[in-house]
């Protein structure tokens, strides 16, 4: 059993008739993902990559038994499609697109919480469970089955860590992109709790970035709830201090959001800090992770 994607998963692709949607559907199918259909309103009845296209999510659910959805929908249409998907009873949603207004994200987040939907993104590479499938854009060749969980704010950095590990035959139980927006649909501690509970995961890597407080909150979760070893890397040490944008954010966050604050919080919580991605190999050896 993998995290989030397992043998019961049946994936639909929203925006399947678009260029990215159709290309990524092909990659997902090649990776062995159980994709069962796609949605583009007004294009129901056509076929893309051998899959049926439906006008509405409700119809797709009815015809295919879909229970998971990955979005390649233009940013302006994501909110509408999200509501439609939740209303159709889908409980796992991955929002790949970027540039979605924060107000829309806040609405989606509240709706997902109210309806018991697990959603990732926006601006996420998605989820990849080696050997089971992937929802999103992660390049499958870089991943290998195994027992390390990876959660990353950045798509490409998740590939980097998986690639480094896979080269040394250290496989992954699941790789999850949490999304890189100021507000995301599922917070980092909630994703961590999935890995902590997963029997197929022995250890977890958090790949964070400057900004926000997700990593600081994750540190609290690690200190209080986690028993599995955690390694953490925070990108952006040399990022120039952003042009200061008023005080409100700074007041709310306090000193949080810098690489230093995140590193300190994670280290105090008992996570192993990686100063550079390649150090993940030493951590794996030291923790006897294979």
């Amino acid at each position: 059993m993998g995290i989030l994607i397992d043998d019961a998963t049946r994936v639909i692709v929203q925006g399947i008739t678009g260029k990215i949607g159709s290309t990524q559907t092909r990659w997902m199918l090649r990776y062995g993902t159980p994709v069962v259909g796609g949605i583009t309103p007004g294009k129901g009845g056509t076929i893309v990559e051998g899959l049926p296209v439906f006008d509405s999510v409700a119809e797709a659910v009815k015809q295919t038994g879909a229970n998971a959805s990955v979005f390649f929908v233009p940013a302006a249409f994501v909110l509408d499609a999200f509501y439609e998907t939740v209303d159709a009873g889908i409980k796992l949603i991955v929002i790949v697109p970027e540039h979605i207004p924060v107000n829309d994200v806040m609405r989606m987040r509240a709706y997902a919480a109210a309806e018991g939907v697990f959603a990732l993104g926006p601006t996420t590479p998605g989820i990849l469970v080696p050997g089971k499938g992937k929802m999103g854009i992660m390049p499958g060749a870089l991943f290998a089955p195994g027992r390390v969980g990876i959660i990353s704010r950045s798509g490409t950095l998740s590939y980097e860590f998986a690639g480094i590990l896979s080269e040394k035959k250290i496989g992954q139980s699941a790789v999850i992109g949490m999304g890189a927006d100021p507000v995301i649909l599922t917070n980092l501690p909630d994703i961590l709790s999935l890995f902590e509970a997963d029997k197929g995961t022995d250890a977890v890597i958090i790949v964070g970035e400057v900004g926000g407080t997700q990593e600081e909150k994750a540190a609290e979760f690690i200190a209080e709830k986690m028993k599995k070893p955690v390694a953490a890397y925070i990108a952006g040490r040399l990022s120039p201090q952003g042009k200061r944008m008023g005080h409100a954010g700074a007041i709310v966050r306090g000193a949080a959001g810098t690489v230093a604050s995140k590193c300190e919080a994670l280290q105090t919580a008992g996570a192993t800090l990686l100063k550079s991605p390649i150090e993940v190999l030493d951590w794996a050896v030291n923790n006897d992770i294979r």
Binding site: I137, P139, G155, R237, I251, S276
Partner: protein
Amino acid sequence: MRLHEHEGLDIFESAGIPVPRRGVAGNTDDALIIAGEIGYPVVLKAQVLVGGRGLAGGIQTVTTPEELEDAAGKLFSAEIKGLPVRKLLVCEKADIHSELYMGITIDGFTGRPVIVVSKEGGVHIEETARIAPDKVISFYCDPAFGFYPYQARMLLRRLGIVERLLAICADVLVRLYRAFVQYEALIAEINPLVILKTGYQGGLLAIDSVIEIDNSALNRVKLPLPEMIERIENPLERKGREIGVTYVDLGGDIGIISSGAGLGMATMDIIGERLRPANFLETGGGITEELLYKCMELVMMKIDLRAIFINVYGGINPIHEGARGVVRYIKEHNVTIPIVAKALGNHQEETWEILRAGGVHVVTEAPTEIAVARLFELVGAR
């Protein structure tokens, strides 16, 4: 998109928040005319998008036309924290009794707007929040519900504000919230909201604004303002925006092209161990041959560049197409500085082949550190 102070004050005014009489001047003559209409003393405020403007000399009170001419002349020829002063806001001088701070931002972790008020307005508000957090009241608002006067009164009562002032301050805070929502702001701040010695303007005056609009919402927010792109002072950063990538100009001499912000930052951090990055360039998910050609062009605009490091993944991006753009630029412009590339993921073999044919040093191992070590070798960094 961060708005200028005067643009923010216009938004406040349309939202019904009391603001000072004012005008925007592009030169000293205009400033004199505006000041004449307002009446002396007036305050001159450099319109630069940077914090700590006041401490850097960007705000001057003048009491006569002569003083104004002198001060405006100096401001227009000065730089505030490295930024040129193109416009001055000329403002009436408020007769300050006391100051409040009101700010709204979005808290990423809760996904809610946070409303912050304090009696300690002005430039020291963050310091106050740190050393005396009880003097700063925060409220996490439910955006589906909204923010209503009774909630504003509850917050303001906790600052000890009572009677008539309570109602009018609550009114301003609710209007600030409405503007925050209407303009899809990430930050909306009145700092300070001045309580005047006289009852003029209802006794309150918002004398500075900070507003940042959500870039992702710019196309649906109706704003009579210059485009985002015209606000970018740095010519390279402006060109980056024109071609659709994120470009941050840095002080060094190693060009970086990455697909992905996290990877870009990590690459910068790794290179920064021994060399100085010239830039941070992140392509986003829209790589084409043409885009990477333009990225090369943009990175090469930096003079005295010693090398370029390319770090890309083929996930959503067709990196083999991007590679063609890189190589075409190299050939057309006869680029001679070393270019190191790490490119993994979908279409990786094809990408390597194209890049190698163009003279790029391709590293095929996963760790960026190994590719950067190759860069260090090539430019002789120890």
